[in-house]
Every structure is written in structure tokens, then in C-alpha cells.
């Protein structure tokens, strides 16, 4: 990249070669209006809002697609550009239904904002009043074609960011429609409900079922925090109002996901239906009964004194809580471990970062199902495949990634993959707990050519690793102390200990067996840190207050440690 010099609205501007005129102008503080352009997407240049005058060029040029060149003289806000933009807006408003008074986007709509900026106080073109479809077949968000301006941001988001290729355009001219797959209802389509299209839509066409009419930008609070739904640890921008979670957005310039989220991170936490534990519970006459913290902690401390103890943690909580947990267990001389299994170690190769997947030309997926459990990694693999990377799946059961893989083999045939990958430039091996020893052996010839990404099945497995917690099964001890947090429990989990303490956010089959249940906050009701797959320590923020009688695990564990000293 080299420096170039151009003149924008009479002002000398320095830009980088490779930048568009739009980017060069932005760098110089000149905002050119856009609609179909979105910084996270490729440029399409179709809406013509960004037209500018360029000296020496006969026609107006679209700034979002025009490469900035040395010596260019550009005018961005002239009478001519203003009139063209207003004309474009008039056409957009005359096509479908843009009666803002019953649109949930009114106040935050990019189309509406541009209309205001261009003084559009009435419409001059007749409207066709054609009724378009409203598709509400997906759970979390709705597509109202009546509000759609066919900017194709959603299509590009689905193709380029989610790499899911669900969306496309159907028909031509005035009949053009956004459609899913071969024109099926969204709910029956290949859509994975990552919500990226929803986030980029500039109008009220894509409607978030939870936050619609819940508050305009000027009424809501945005807080940046970290997703706790899997080990990837995507950055979240959470929208809240009146002590209510309204919406979760991705953060465009964040590592590793770059704004991409998955259904678990974006929508699931807003639709939680499990019953919350809100007060300490102790077993009295065989029944769990509400108690004070003092009473509950006294009981726990008493049980822990002198008896054999096993501590088991679901790695679904903060680094601070896991450290306090490991510390208490050491103080007690008990054994401590994690509930979830870990991915095995290879003995060769170099560790990869999540984003390395995007740069790979050969991706091996073995003993892992990222599309189900660390979805953004799965989408990254799709994205790499779109860019020409070869994907090879080694699996003894069905794997959703096989659909886009060049080859899928059973563990016994892993050698085939090793051979196929031999000449690759950058090999990334994505694996998890299902990686079999024979596969590790078969891929060994690739040696340090392999960059590996070991997917931890637990949300904060890295945090557990840092304090030395290794997988353990429940054993027979006098006391079991289970740090469960928000983690759902497998019905099969049987804890044989005589006295069971469960620190949990929700009621479950495990709390039913417990002798004492201690309520814990949710990820958005607490501060603390989590360690992502990439080993980055990221903060959690308090978005909503926890119920009054809920205490952070680390606080409780320290109180117990003090009682037992």
C-alpha cells in the first residue's frame, strides 16, 4: 500500500492506495450518504446514494466502488449529487410500504434518516400498493418484504460473513424479491439463524421479534461483553432497557469472530426458560427449603470440615470463580476436577488461533462438530471453503461439515487425509474430544506443518486449565461440591457422595439431588473474566442486576474458605 493524494471538496486528502473514494472521504471526515454499502460487506454500488462528482469523468461515480487514485478531484456534496440522492430516495419510498408510523424501525432506520437528511417532506410518485409477504416462520426474527429496499446487505452478509448461502435474489426488475434457498419459507430453509442479516439490514424489513418496539437507539443502553455460550468467546454488544435484555449484536472489529455470532450467542440467552434458583436452599425433612445465606454456608462449612471431599466444576463460570474453587479445594485437601472432558494433546504441530482457519488452504476436522458446538468456527470453515480451502472431515459418525467437505473419511482411513494434505501451504487441524489416538498417529507425518485448534467443549475450559482443573468423574466421597453455574446437566450425571452442595443458577436434576443449593448469577449479572480458545482473557460486564439473594461464586467460595480456616 502506498500513500496517495486527492482533493475532496477542496480539501487536500491523504489516503492509501486500494481504498475506495468512500473510505478516503471517511478518513478525511467527509461522510458520504450510503444505503447498500456496509463496512463489513463487499461493495455492491447499486443504490446510487453515494454518487460523487469526479473531475474529468463525465458521469457521477459511486464512491463505494470507485478506487481512490492519486490526483483525483472529487466533490461529494453538490446540488447535482443532492438531487440524485433525493431522487433515489423518492423511488425507494414509492416502491413498497414505507409508512413509518407503523414500522418498528422508525427512528433508527437508515432509509428514513436519509430521507430526513434530504428534506423529503412528501412523495411525488404514485405508489403501487402491492401487498408483499411477511415471513414469520423463523423463531427469532421476521422478514417483512413490504419494508425491503433490496439493498442486498442481507444476501452479502449471509454469503460473505456467515458463508451460509441461504439468501439470494429471485425474479427481476420490480418483481425482485429476497428469497431463501429455492424460494422456501425461511423456517424451512438452510438458514442457521446466526442473525447476521438481521444486524446489517438498514430498514425495518428484518424484524427482531424480541426487541421490536422495545426501544429506540436513543432509549437503550449498549454494553460490550463476552459471549459465555461456548469456548470461542465472541465479543457481544448487548442492548438493554428497563432491566431487560433486548438484543444481542456482534461487534464488527472484534477478535476472533469479527462481528459474526451464532444462534446460541445472539438469541438463545434471551429465550431462557429454565427456572432460576433465587435463594439458598437447604434440605429439611427431605425437602429443599429456602434458607438464609448464613444458615446455608454454616451447613456447608460444617459438612466440609474433616470429611473427604470432591469438587467438580462445570467450566461455565469466570476465571475468578474457578480459581477460588480450586483454591478452596486445595485448602481442604480434597480432590478437584472439571465435569467436561478435554480434547487430547497431539504431541506435534503448533497451536492455531481461531482466525487461522480463514487463512488455511487445507482444513482437517477430526473428532469435532464445530457447526453444533462452536458454531462460529464451523462458519469460518465454510468461509475458508468458499475461498478455495480443502476441507477434510475425519469422523466415525455423521458430521454437518461433511456437506461442504471435499472428503469425509472414518478414523481408520485418516492416513488418506494426511496424504491429501501433504502439499498444502497452511494446514489447520480443528479437533475436539472425539479425536481418536489412531487419527493422532495417522496425521503425525504432517508434523509441525499442522496448526491445531483444540476446541474445548466447555465454555471456559481454558480458564479451568489455567487453575489446573482436569476432567474427573464423580466418586464416592463424604461431600461433593459442584460448581455448576448456568450449565445444563446431563440427566445421566450421578453423584454418589453422601452430602451434595450444588452452586447453580437454575433448577435441574442435580439441584434436586442436592443437600444445599447456592444460587449463582448469570453471565450478564456479574463481572469477572473468561479465557477464550485463543487464550485471550476477556471481561464480563454487569448488564442487569442479579436477584437480591444471588451471590457470585467467588464471593461465596471465599466466605467458605474463611469459615474453614
Amino acid at each position: 500500500m502506498s500513500e496517495i493524494h486527492l482533493k475532496i471538496n477542496g480539501q487536500e486528502v491523504t489516503a492509501q492506495s486500494g481504498q475506495t473514494v468512500l473510505e478516503a472521504a471517511k478518513g478525511a471526515g467527509v461522510e458520504i450518504p450510503v444505503l447498500c454499502h456496509h463496512p463489513a460487506l463487499s461493495n455492491w454500488g447499486a443504490c446510487r446514494m453515494c454518487v460523487v462528482e469526479v473531475e474529468g469523468m463525465r458521469t457521477l461515480q459511486t464512491a463505494c466502488t470507485l478506487p481512490a487514485a492519486d490526483g483525483m478531484v472529487i466533490k461529494t456534496h453538490t446540488e447535482q449529487t443532492f438531487n440524485i440522492r433525493k431522487f433515489v430516495l423518492e423511488l425507494l419510498f414509492s416502491e413498497r410500504n414505507h409508512y413509518c408510523m407503523y414500522c418498528q424501525m422508525s427512528g433508527d432506520c437508515e432509509l428514513q434518516a436519509q430521507a430526513y437528511n434530504h428534506g423529503l417532506d412528501h412523495w411525488t410518485y404514485p405508489r403501487p400498493y402491492e401487498k408483499q409477504e411477511v415471513d414469520a416462520t423463523r423463531k427469532y426474527f421476521i422478514m417483512d418484504h413490504n419494508r425491503c429496499i433490496l439493498c442486498t446487505r442481507c444476501v452479502r452478509a449471509c454469503t460473505e460473513i456467515a458463508a451460509n448461502h441461504t439468501l439470494g435474489l429471485r425474479n427481476r426488475g420490480a418483481e425482485t424479491m429476497i428469497s431463501a434457498d429455492l424460494n422456501v419459507p425461511f423456517g424451512e430453509s438452510s438458514c442457521v439463524e446466526c442473525g447476521t442479516c438481521l444486524q446489517v439490514c438498514p430498514t425495518g424489513a428484518l424484524i427482531d421479534a424480541r426487541s421490536a418496539y422495545g426501544g429506540r437507539e436513543k432509549d437503550v443502553t449498549h454494553t460490550q461483553t463476552t459471549c459465555m455460550q461456548c469456548s470461542v468467546g465472541c465479543d457481544l454488544d448487548v442492548v438493554t432497557r428497563y432491566k431487560r435484555l433486548l438484543r444481542v449484536d456482534g461487534v464488527w472489529d472484534s477478535e476472533p469472530s469479527g462481528g459474526l455470532l451464532c444462534v446460541d450467542g445472539r438469541f438463545a440467552p434471551l429465550y431462557e426458560t429454565r427456572k432460576r434458583v433465587v435463594k439458598p436452599l437447604v434440605r429439611k425433612d427431605g425437602k429443599l427449603t429456602e434458607a438464609s445465606w448464613e444458615e446455608a454456608l454454616g451447613l456447608v462449612a460444617n459438612a466440609l470440615k474433616g470429611d473427604t471431599c470432591q469438587g467438580l466444576a462445570a467450566c461455565a463460570t469466570t476465571n475468578e470463580a474457578l480459581a477460588a474453587f480450586a483454591g478452596l479445594m486445595t485448602q481442604l485437601g480434597g480432590q478437584a476436577g472439571r465435569l467436561e472432558p478435554v480434547a487430547p494433546t497431539l504431541g506435534y504441530g503448533v497451536p492455531a488461533k481461531v482466525t487461522d482457519v480463514l487463512a488455511a488452504d487445507f482444513i482437517i476436522v477430526a473428532g469435532a462438530q464445530p457447526l453444533d458446538y462452536q458454531r462460529v468456527v464451523g462458519y469460518f470453515i465454510h468461509r475458508a471453503a468458499d475461498q478455495g480451502a480443502t476441507v477434510a472431515v475425519i469422523s466415525d459418525s455423521e458430521n454437518a461439515l461433511s456437506k461442504r467437505a471435499a472428503l469425509t473419511v472414518a478414523s481408520a482411513q485418516a492416513g488418506i487425509v494426511a496424504k491429501a494434505a501433504a502439499d498444502a501451504r497452511k494446514i489447520v487441524l480443528v479437533y475436539s474430544v472425539g479425536l481418536k489416538p489412531e487419527v493422532i498417529a495417522a496425521l503425525k507425518p504432517l508434523g509441525d506443518k499442522v496448526s491445531f485448534l483444540a476446541l474445548d467443549p466447555a465454555r471456559n475450559g481454558k480458564g479451568a486449565e489455567a487453575v489446573g482443573l482436569k476432567p474427573q468423574s464423580p466418586v464416592k466421597t463424604d461431600v461433593a461440591y459442584i460448581l455448576l453455574g448456568e450449565q445444563p446437566v446431563a440427566d445421566a450425571l450421578h453423584v454418589p457422595a453422601g452430602f451434595k452442595v450444588v452452586q447453580a443458577a437454575y433448577h435441574s436434576t442435580l439441584t434436586e439431588q442436592a443437600d444445599v443449593v447456592l444460587p449463582t448469577p448469570l453471565w450478564y449479572e456479574r463481572t469477572g473474566h473468561v479465557t477464550t480458545l485463543d487464550g485471550v482473557i476477556k471481561p464480563l460486564q454487569v448488564l442487569l442486576p442479579a436477584p437480591a439473594d444471588v451471590r457470585d461464586e467467588s464471593v461465596v467460595l471465599e466466605q467458605l474458605a474463611a469459615l474453614l480456616r
Partner: protein
């Protein structure tokens, strides 16, 4: 200087725009120092005087023959015509019916609605027939000033009126140009 004559009427509307006008609160005292209101939907005189007014303010869309006639009358009698509110400017919420054939709208409204028993579509020579589609005022007569909003805020209305009183043509932009309830 004599008072400026203003007439107003509501067409296919909910009265919200006139309510918003009343939201100018105590400024109304100042307003009536300069203005004579010749006719309005809530005074005895409903029609603008034949000798004409300086400013006519219409709220609501055009949805039947009577409203069309009222709009034409106001246009003829007002030197300057303001279309006030999203219905008068764009047709507004009443245009929801434009997405269906008129016969279907009447059948749904008078016969099929869940709360209706033995309904019938009213027909009488005194009832104005519906226009095929609801439209804004500007679609049937020339309009001089468009003031959108559902309703426009009292401040936007006040801005337009005071500009006119000062002898300037109001220019709708910035905080006073809003659609829907966005001004609130």
C-alpha cells in the same frame, strides 16, 4: 394589521394532528393574537368562508367523495394550503386498506369481524362512497406546505405557523421533519 384568517378541517384522520396542535399549550394565546380561526371541525362553522382565508390546514387523507370535496373546497378558498400529518401528506395509516380491494375491506369490516353478528354493509344516499384508494391531499389538489408526522409534534406545528406569521415560507428539515411518532 388585521388578523390572519385560518381555516382547518379534518378528513380521513384520527384527530391526533389537531390534538398535537393543542399541545402548543400556552403558545395558543400568542397564536390567537394574530390569527382568526374562521372554521374548524370542533367549532360551529365547519366550512371555510366563501370569501376565502389566508391559510387552510387539512389533516387526514382522502378516502371518500366527501373528503375529496372538502379538500377541493379548502383549496379553492385558501391562499395557502398546509397538508398536516402523515395521513394528509402520504395517505397515512388509512392507506392500509389500499392493499386490498375495496369490496373486500367493506366485507371484512362490516360482516366478517369476529365481534360482528348479522352485519351488513351500510348503504345510504347520505353516505359518501369510498374512493378506490386512500390518498394524500397532495394527490388530489395542489398543496403548498407538507408537514408530515403521525402526529407532527407541537413544536413542528408551531414552527410552521410562526414562520408563516413572520412572512417566511417554512422549510421542513432537522428536528421538525419526522415521519410517524418519531418526534416524540
Amino acid at each position: 394589521m388585521g388578523k390572519i384568517k385560518v381555516a382547518t378541517q379534518w378528513l380521513e384522520a384520527c384527530a391526533g394532528c389537531h390534538m398535537s396542535f393543542l399541545d402548543i399549550d400556552e403558545r395558543i394565546v400568542e397564536f390567537f393574537k394574530h390569527v382568526e380561526l374562521t372554521s374548524s371541525p370542533i367549532t360551529d362553522l365547519k366550512h371555510p368562508p366563501e370569501e376565502g382565508v389566508d391559510v387552510g390546514i387539512l389533516t387526514g387523507g382522502i378516502g371518500n367523495e366527501d373528503e375529496l370535496h372538502e379538500a377541493q373546497e379548502m383549496r379553492e378558498r385558501a391562499k395557502l394550503l398546509i397538508a398536516m400529518g402523515d395521513c394528509a401528506v402520504f395517505g397515512g395509516i388509512c392507506t392500509m386498506r389500499n392493499f386490498f380491494p375495496t369490496a373486500e375491506v367493506l366485507r371484512r369490516g362490516y360482516i366478517e369481524t369476529e365481534s360482528t353478528v348479522d352485519g351488513q354493509i351500510p348503504q345510504h344516499e347520505d353516505l359518501a362512497p369510498l374512493t378506490d384508494k386512500v390518498s394524500g391531499v397532495g394527490d388530489v389538489v395542489p398543496v403548498d406546505i407538507y408537514l408530515p408526522g403521525c402526529p407532527p409534534t407541537a413544536d413542528a406545528i408551531w414552527y410552521v405557523l410562526t414562520e408563516l406569521l413572520e412572512g417566511r415560507m417554512p422549510k421542513l428539515e432537522g428536528k421538525v421533519l419526522k415521519y410517524g411518532m418519531d418526534g416524540g
